[in-house]
């Protein structure tokens, strides 16, 4: 789907991305992970035609130019304002028209329902929260049912509910065998969805072991276990969402939840998540994961 060869972008004094070669294959959910300023967005902007590389080449869907594949790709750029004077419905319709894939209003309504904005069809985008804007951005990216979806920081600076919605959308795309390329600054939101991951630091691809974020995650060595009241299936996704922001290797059953955390100082925030979800806690235990494994 995407093949980049020695892609490089230099600004006057800085090399933003340095000879990046990577492949994204059909059906992959590919995550490019790296801290802020590592070159993720520069790379994303080049492969989506927003900016141009200094050197190197890339092919998308076996085409050397984006011209012929634009109708088959969906793009959600990072930190992009929306057309605030338009309603959610008008926004989707306008951008679909530009792609040349106009659809029925009912299709757009269905799409807004899919991203959890069904009650906001006629609301002006200017009144939306960052999370709602991101979901609307997500909706416009998939409105024309593209084969390849590219998302820049889909989980950045948004509320837990929006993160959950976007994860569900990506999960659906995964089941539809679509190809997704996304960037994120932490692997915590992408671990459960991505089938392939690459790490970027200071403009270069690095191995997972040398990546600072990955080191932090793998150094989680306390397994916290929570014995609690019966959890309904409706509550589980919300609780999962909260807990994924705190730890890794999360296991939720009907009456017990466990996850890996870095220190005991994180336990109070986990308890707060249970309280928010109105789940009664009976017992909390925290054990060194290394000694128990």
């Amino acid at each position: 789907m995407l093949h980049t060869k020695e892609l490089t972008k230099k600004y006057r004094t800085k090399v933003a991305i340095d000879h990046i070669t990577l492949d994204v294959n059909q059906g992959d959910i590919f995550g490019l992970i790296g801290p802020k300023g590592s070159g993720k967005t520069t790379f994303f902007n080049i492969i989506t035609g927003i900016s141009r590389p200094t050197s190197g080449t890339f092919t998308m869907m076996d085409m050397p130019s984006l011209k012929k594949v634009r109708q088959h790709i969906g793009v959600l750029p990072e930190y992009t304002d929306l057309y605030e004077g338009l309603t959610a419905l008008e926004h989707i319709a306008y951008l679909s028209k530009i792609t040349g894939t106009r659809q029925k209003t009912s299709d757009y309504e269905e799409l807004l329902e899919f991203v959890g904005l069904d009650r906001y069809h006629q609301e002006k985008v200017g009144s939306f929260t960052p999370g709602m804007k991101k979901r609307l951005g997500m909706a416009q990216a998939i409105a024309h049912r593209p084969e390849f979806i590219l998302l820049d920081e889909p989980f950045a600076d948004i509320d837990a509910d929006s993160i959950l919605h976007i994860q569900q959308v990506i999960d659906t795309l995964k089941h539809e065998r679509k190809t997704v390329f996304l960037t994120a600054d932490r692997p915590r939101f992408t671990n459960s969805i991505c089938t392939k991951t690459a790490f970027i630091s200071e403009g270069k691809l690095v191995s997972p072991h040398t990546h600072p974020q990955e080191k932090t995650i793998t150094s989680s060595n306390i397994r916290a276990t929570f014995k609690h009241a019966w959890i309904d299936d409706e509550v589980k996704p919300v609780l999962t969402q909260y807990l994924q922001t705190v730890g890794t290797d999360l296991v939720i059953s009907d009456d017990e939840t466990s996850l890996l955390i870095r220190s005991e100082a994180q336990v109070p925030s986990i308890i707060r998540a249970f309280v928010k979800c109105k789940v009664d806690l009976y017992r909390v235990t925290a054990q060194d994961a290394m000694s128990t494994s």
Partner: protein, 223 residues
């Protein structure tokens, strides 16, 4: 079409039509128009009024409404949505056509209002004004791409809309070599030529040159 809808749905369209109509009606009643009416290409006093008003204030009105046509989108980064969906040339053409459609509606409405009074609809005069407006729109697109923040494009655009007609007229009237060459780059020179087709063709050529310049600037820019 978004540009056209946004401009046309707002009070801007009504205000533009009212301003042009009132000014042109006022100018058409001035004694010197009647005195020199036979020297004008357009014989109708209302048409002369429209032509004079647009020559003096056309660029100002165009820049007032559209100085940030591209700079706003670049600044807010909404342009990234468009760039990922279509070619940069298509974006320029789309913006140009959207603005042209707005001005076509305004000018045609003004001429229809004039027709109510004068009982004549001067299509060829309206077409001439539209080609002049086309040059103004292309200038707005070019400067909006050259200065990609709304504040800069507003400052430069307003300054340009005041200075361009003045410098153009000086270049046409002056025999000073330093400024005389500039006349070939302005629609004000071609309006003096007796053949209206030359005026329309030269304005079209200026429009195409400016649009190509804008597209080339856009191609080279990371947005």
């Amino acid at each position: 079409m978004n540009e056209f809808k946004q401009l046309f749905k707002s009070t801007k369209s009504i205000l533009t039509i009212v301003i042009i109509f009132i000014l042109s009606t006022f100018v058409s009643t001035l004694p010197f128009i009647a005195a020199h009416q036979d020297k004008w290409e357009a014989k109708d006093p209302y048409s002369i009024g429209n032509e004079l008003v647009m020559s003096l204030f056309g660029f100002f009105l165009i820049f007032l409404l559209s100085h940030d046509i591209l700079s706003r989108e670049i600044h807010l980064k909404t342009i990234r949505f468009l760039v990922s969906k279509t070619t940069r040339l298509n974006i320029i053409i789309g913006k140009y056509l959207g603005l042209m459609l707005f001005w076509l509606s305004c000018i045609m409405t003004t001429y229809v209002l004039n027709m109510v009074i004068s009982h004549r609809f001067l299509f060829s005069d309206a077409l001439k004004i539209l080609t002049f407006i086309s040059v103004g729109i292309s200038c707005a697109l070019f400067l909006s791409m050259l200065f990609p923040t709304p504040q800069k494009s507003m400052f430069v655009g307003m300054l340009f809309s005041f200075l361009f007609p003045i410098v153009s007229m000086i270049s046409v009237l002056s025999s000073e070599r330093l400024i005389h060459w500039f006349q070939y780059m302005t629609p004000y020179y071609y309006v003096r030529l007796s053949e209206p087709l030359t005026y329309v063709l030269m304005n079209t050529a200026l429009t195409v040159i400016l649009l190509i310049g804008t597209a080339l600037l856009f191609q080279r820019r990371d947005v």
